[in-house]
């Protein structure tokens, strides 16, 4: 129930914010998703989708930061025991 899946906005439709929707691609599978909860979302954004609604726009920089932190973890570990 808490599972939300990331997808990429291909196109946006609708002027009324409550009915604004997008075609979102989940690795090639395209579904119609409501953008009512993310008025600032636009084409090419990645969004987290839950029960037919986009819940937020994924922050690419933050995603890269976590992956980079995990890479650095490895470097520290490989460097051997603490002096």
């Amino acid at each position: 129930m808490c599972l939300a899946i990331p997808g990429k906005i291909l196109s946006v439709d609708g002027d009324d914010p409550a009915f604004r929707s997008a075609r979102v691609s989940f690795d090639g599978v395209v579904k119609e998703v409501s953008l009512a909860l993310v008025p600032a979302a636009k084409t090419d954004d990645y969004v987290l989708v839950h029960v037919g609604f986009a819940l937020n726009v994924i922050d690419e920089e933050e995603a890269n930061r976590v992956l980079e932190d995990l890479r650095t973890l490895g470097e520290l570990a490989d460097a051997g025991p603490e002096p």
Partner: protein, 370 residues
């Protein structure tokens, strides 16, 4: 798939597990709140990567699991009403009420329809003015804005044949209830990532301070969970009971303001009964008086709630982290996904279902582990 595969990299997972092992100097008990996290942990074997001294305890973050029996009985009563259609997420359909479940009712002729989104129910109502369409609105804060937005759409469309049968629960009061119980062993939490996508994490700060527990907002992929655990362990070892965000690509401190706005417009906080646990004050959401017209409880004559029969299900203890699925004498024997005694074996986020599905030969209670 972007934002999925990168967070499942096995080499990074091993590095994170190594860092956790190095950081742990004494026993700690951490609870992951969300059932989706429980499933990821069991599915990817994350618990097996962790040092012995670290105990992961599964929490009550399974909204299907905690929906009261009386709500399922109400759904059954609606489904049995001529001209009414009961629409629901898939895993609610197999949870037993005081008698049967919704799937059996459908087999017997009731109009029960499985839906992916509450918007599908709004569409059904719009296209079928002669039907009374009711959506069984179950969920935590993650799903509440979707239900609220669906009600607002129905209102904008002037629909008179759409209503919600709500069963909404809130996470922070559940965490407080667990921390406040006498035999609580939980020392740190992995907060539910998508609940926080909606609500932000400000409301966890007083909990962390008052109970001196670190809380880390955590996602759902293996690397997210390992990062969350590592962060929590570091704070426990340093004695720092603060709130951290290990899921920053999806969570901001103030959450999603528009989502919070629609929740506040359509719902109000109420006391709520949690199946297997009891009533937790101010832990649920009901429809606001201004939206009473969309409350199925007002539209249908639902009668008095039946008492829940004792089927031998210990899911209440499992949901509070006080028992494991394998502790239950019925696990894997009388209680299986095909024949569930309780909700934790049915739900996609239930702990019992996770262990049954992913732990194969170990799953039958009482058998020696290889």
């Amino acid at each position: 798939m972007r934002y999925v595969e990168e967070f499942r990299d096995p080499a990074a997972a091993r590095r994170a597990a190594g860092a956790i092992a190095k950081a742990v100097t004494r026993p700690w008990t951490i609870m992951e709140v969300c059932g989706g996290q429980t499933h990821a942990i069991v599915r990817f074997g994350i618990d097996r990567l962790l040092p012995e001294a670290l105990t992961l305890v599964h929490g009550p973050g399974c909204p299907v699991c905690v929906t009261p029996v009386s709500t399922i009985d109400a759904a059954l009563a609606i489904a049995a009403t001529p001209g009414a259609v009961l629409c629901s997420y898939g895993d609610m359909l197999r949870v037993p009420g005081s008698g049967d479940d919704l799937l059996s009712a459908r087999a017997a002729g009731a109009d029960v329809r499985m839906m992916y989104s509450p918007l599908d129910a709004v569409k059904l109502a719009r296209e079928n003015p002669g039907l009374q369409v009711v959506f069984l609105a179950v969920g935590f804060e993650t799903t509440a804005p979707a239900h609220a937005a669906a009600v607002l759409q129905a209102k904008a469309l002037g629909l008179e044949n759409f209503s919600l049968l709500t069963s909404h629960v809130l996470v922070p009061p559940a965490m407080e209830a667990i921390l406040g119980s006498e035999d609580n062993r939980v020392q740190g939490f992995l907060a539910a990532g998508h609940v926080c996508t909606v609500m932000g994490y400000r409301e966890y700060e007083p909990i962390a301070e008052r109970h001196a527990v670190p809380i880390v907002v955590t996602g759902f992929e293996p690397l997210d969970i390992l990062s969350g655990i590592l962060g929590c362990v570091q704070r426990l070892e340093a004695g720092e009971p603060v709130v951290d965000n290990a899921y920053a690509r999806a969570v901001r401190r103030d959450g999603n303001p528009e989502a919070r706005r629609v929740i506040q417009t359509v719902f109000r906080v109420s006391d709520r009964e949690w199946r297997g646990i009891g009533t937790i004050p101010s832990s649920g959401l009901d429809l606001h008086e201004a939206f009473a017209a969309y409350d199925a409880r007002g539209r249908f004559d639902l009668g008095e709630p039946e008492p829940e029969p004792d089927r031998g299900c210990i899911s209440g203890l499992v949901l509070q982290g006080r028992a494991r699925p394998a502790d239950c004498p019925a696990f894997g024997k009388e209680c299986t996904p095909d024949h569930p005694l309780g909700a934790t074996m049915v739900s996609a986020e239930g702990a019992c279902a996770a262990y049954y599905k992913y732990r194969g030969a170990e799953r039958v209670a009482g058998e020696e582990q290889a």
